[in-house]
Structures are given as C-alpha cells and as structure tokens.
Symmetry: C2
C-alpha cells in the first residue's frame, strides 16, 4: 500500500523518511482564502496543464471517495488541509514520492518524500518540479521578501523540510528531551508524527525548520541533515548502551511486544504503534529475525484508521478497526 | 516434577485439586509445643514404624537441603510449618499423593491429595491411613470432644478438607465475591492458594471447612463437594457467557497471555500465574490448542521461587528467577 518507503537511505536505522515541501502562489489570482470557486477551478487547470504529462496523474478532491482521501493523508501523500476543500486537487507520481497539492493553504504545495535521511535529494527533486512549474506559470514573488504565501510563517523560501526519526532507545533511557530540546536554538521544531501538538506515537518524531526566511534552502537542508545525523548517532549509542548494559530487559520488552502483536485479537492504534516501535528496535538489533525494517515501517502507516477501512472498503467503528488492525498485524509480522 | 496432579477427576475444568488432612496426636506424649527433642525423636520413630513399609519413604527435615524443603512446600506435599522445626519429619508415597507429617503443629498430620473434585476419595484414603496408624499407636482422644489437637480449631474430627478451584471467568465478570461470600454461611472458608491472608494468585481459590466439630467427616466432605460443584457450574456459565457475548475480548485476553508467556525474557511469579490462568481458560475453551490442562496446572506449581531454584540446583535472586521462569514457560508452553 505504501509505495514511497524504501529500504534504503542514509541513517535508515533511525531516520524513517525525509520530506520537502514548497509553498507557491500564482501572481494573477487571490490567495485561496480569498478566492472564488471559479478562480480555484482555473488555478487547478493551470497547474495541471503546467505539469503536463511528466509522470503525474491529477485528481480533484471532490472526485475521491471519503476513505481514500483520509488514507492518502495517513500515507503523507497529501495534507489534512487539502481534503477540507472541495475545490482543491492534487497531482502525484505513480510511486507517490512527489505530489503537487493545488488550492491548499497556498495555490501550490510541492511535496517530495523519500526514505532515510535524504533531504538533499528530496530538495533537489522539489526544486526541479518548482522550476518546471515556474516555466509555465507566474509565481507571486517579491524581490525583497521572496515567495509570497498565505501564511507569513512560510514567506521567503516557502520551504518546509522535515525528517521523521525513530527514537525508542532515547525514550527508554529518558534522554529524549535532553537530546531534542537544543534543536530549537537552530530554528528547528520537534513535533509528533501528526504535526504540531500531536504526541510522538510509536517513538516517532518529526524535525523541521521553523524559519523560512533569511537562510537559503541549501543552508536549511544542511542544518537539518546535520542535526538529524547527530540525533541518529545519539539514538544508536543509546541502543548500544541498552544492548550491552540492560540486555535482558531490552530483549524482554522487544519480545513481549512481538508476542502481543503476533497474538492480539484487538488492538488500538496507539498500542500497536508503541509495540511496533519495539519490534522495529528488535529488528535493528537483530533480536527479531525474518522481518524487514521497511515492511515494518509501512505497517506504522497501514494500521492507521482510514487505511484499515480502505483495505476493507467500508466504514468501521473503533472496535471493528481494532479487530482488523490486530488481524493485519498477526498476518504481516513474521 | 509435580507427580500428584493428573488429568482426571470430576469437574477438572474448574477444580484443580482436592485435599484432606487429619490432625492426630499420640496420647503418651505432650503436644509438640511442649515437647523435648528426645520425645520428638521418639514420636518420629513410632510413626515411621507404625507406617511400616506400605509404600512410604520417610525423611527427617534436618536431612533435606534447604531448596528441596521449600520446593516440597510449593508442591503442597508438606506444610510451611513442618520445615520450621529440625525435629520434624514426614513419610510420603512415591507419587506424593499421601504424606504423613510428623511433629508439625500436631504429632501427626495425614494428608491426601488428588486432582479434580475428589474429596470422597481423598477422605477414604486418609481414613484408611488413619486406621492403619491407629492399629499401632494410641491417639489422644476424648469420648465427648473427639480427637485432641494442639490448636482448638482442629478439635473433634481433626479434619481439614479443601479444594482448589480456578475462577477466572467469575473474576472477569466481577461475580467472584457474590459467588464465594455465601460459602461462609455453610461453615466454609475461602482463601488464596497459599492459605489464610494470601490473595488469589492466578484466579485460584481454596475452599475448606472452618469447623471440625459437630458434623461427621462424611457430612463435611459432602457439603464441600456440593458447594464446589455449584461454584464450578457458575464458573462454567460465566465462561460460556464470555465466549458467547464477548468472544473477541475473551480471545484477545487469552492470546495476549499466550503471546507474552511464549516470548517474555523475564517474568515475575505473580504475572506468570495471572497469564497462565488465562491460557488455562483458553485450553478449556479449545481456543489454545496443543496444550494439556494437566501440564499447565503443573506449571503453576513449577514456576514458584523454590521450585525454579531446585531445577537449577542453586540459589538465585529475584532477577535470576524471573529470567529462568520466563525460559521454563517459553519451553513448556506449546
């Protein structure tokens, strides 16, 4: 189901994925907050035409069934804000690594996803897409400010670069706050997987730039790559420490998580994410065999509420989802 | 290790075991509390001689290594009080179903154990042993009171009959207090497995007679058998109810317990007993296959602290025991 996660990329043992998104607006239309439906339709057509048929398929949000829309959000292919408006749409590549969202908060949101610590590469692809579009449409741009955006927090580069990192050992050794708090000094923010205000489910954290003005894109990218690399190293040291100094408890935690996931008949999203996190740690430490870290990372995404309902092609209540989730986990974990 | 538990007996799905013990004293000696070591030695010799070689092997407590003594207590073959005195001893059959404890609280404590609801049978065997001894020694007996004992709570018949019953479904449906409290009206007491004041570990309860005077042995036995039979029926109804009305949660609880026991690397006695209790329920409901209820009941006994140390032939701290216990459980559960 999740096609963009690959078993490759730098620091893949800690960094699950990298993402770059660029906010852009067309100069000849009002910002989406002040637009008519007719103008939104024009923007959609302009952007789709600009992309041409370079491997992109385009969809209007109003044409996509409810569950599929949420599932795409859960897969990080589109944003939660995009599906709130019927006039919005998006174009995406078949492997879902690149998406151009249309009429989200801004006219255009270019997004590129990749596995592992791969911001330079994702930035390069996003930049190419940006150039492709810029050849066909005129962006709202100010010589002094940079790209103009609906929300001032995106002004300038319009870029938000982020990495999703898995920090179970830093959590277990109670170092996670100590390690993550200095990140703010560098103008970076730490969030849960589901964005601002959400907690870190399954020990997954998102680190992204707060500031979009002042620095060049390459500088921001390099800063996040550096810091993510340092945090990965600290997570690795914590894993090594636990393995060497507290092996029995470490193995116990991992195997119990494995035993529950292989046997439960009903499991909540939160518990499943927590247990998957330990199994992932076990795979990394080669304590759990016959499982692929990439398949496990996909499970984190596939056990989310809409994704489960999408598999079953029907709406399900919490209880039904918890039962189906347990079934998927029993089947998928080897 | 535990030889007296068999996969047979009435109401074996709920009643783990039945036990009858008779307190007796010799008329020509003071009670053990007021005895000299020399007299204790005489009593030991008298009783062993009286038993002859009718399948009994006799041991002085002082000759038995520390861990083995506690293990015999954990197996319910001898009582905790017996091992506190160096002058005490016991004779037991090879299958450990019958024990004669010597110089415990009373000169003689005859005990017979059996699987399932089998009090009539255990009483019959205890009575035969009692008659055998009475042919050779003179009991302290009063025409009006009955058998004289060190503690007045045993006066009369000197008999304590008890059954160990497994009530997980009554616990899960929160009916256990409602079902067990009327038992007191019939002069019966409910206790945890480890006797008075202990809690019901692994949903195991012990029901025994409080009163040893007034009624004949057969009357007491029949009363306990009746009540244990009724409680078993209620437990069965609760199991059926859960299976029919709450199957997913029921299976989830059972399989999670199974998954943890099959995977944990470290487990406390209390947690292990609780999880074994659910697996036992799963075997009874044929949800867990390939496991024998008898082997599982033996595990309840074999995972106790001294039994674990006895297997390893060395003293172990709590942490070492918890690791060894997890290993035994992973190996023994199929």
């Amino acid at each position: 189901m999740v096609s963009w996660l690959k078993n490759s990329g730098k620091d893949r043992d800690v960094v699950v994925s990298s993402r770059v998104r660029l906010a852009r607006n067309l100069s000849n239309y009002n910002f989406p907050t002040k637009m008519t439906s007719v103008d939104m339709d024009e923007v959609y057509k302009d952007v789709v035409a600009a992309l041409g048929n370079g491997g992109f398929t385009s969809f209007r949000i109003s044409d996509i069934p409810y569950l599929e829309k949420i599932m795409l959000v859960e897969k990080h292919v589109i944003s939660p804000a995009l599906i709130e408006k019927n006039e919005s749409g998006f174009s995406m590549t078949e492997d879902e690594t690149a998406t151009v969202m249309i009429n989200e908060e801004d006219h255009i949101r270019i997004q590129v996803l990749d596995s592992g610590l791969s911001l330079e590469n994702t930035w390069k692809r996003a930049d190419e897409l940006d150039n492709l579009l810029e050849e066909k449409v005129e962006y709202a741009y100010d010589e002094k400010v940079g790209y103009l955006t609906a929300c001032p927090t995106n002004l300038g580069t319009g870029m938000r670069a982020s990495v999703m990192i898995h920090l179970p050992a830093l959590e277990l050794t109670r170092q996670v706050n100590k390690v993550l708090s200095p990140v703010a000094q560098f103008g970076l923010a730490v969030r849960g997987v589901y964005g601002e205000g959400t907690k870190a489910m399954g020990s997954l954290y998102q680190i992204s730039n707060q500031i979009t003005m002042g620095d060049r894109e390459e500088t921001i990218i390099r800063k996040i790559e550096n810091i993510a690399g340092q945090i990965s190293e600290k997570e690795r040291m914590a894993r090594k420490y636990l393995l060497e100094n507290d092996r029995t408890n470490y193995e116990d935690r991992i195997f119990r998580a494995y035993g529950i996931l292989k046997n439960a008949r009903k499991i909540s999203h939160e518990e499943a994410a927590k247990l998957l996190s330990y199994v992932k740690l076990g795979i990394d430490a080669e304590i759990i065999k016959n499982n692929d870290i990439n398949e496990l990372d996909k499970l984190f995404i596939e056990i989310q509420p809409a994704s489960i309902q999408f598999i079953e092609r029907k709406e399900m209540d919490t209880n039904e989802r918890d039962i189906k989730r347990a079934e998927i986990l029993r089947d998928e974990i080897k």
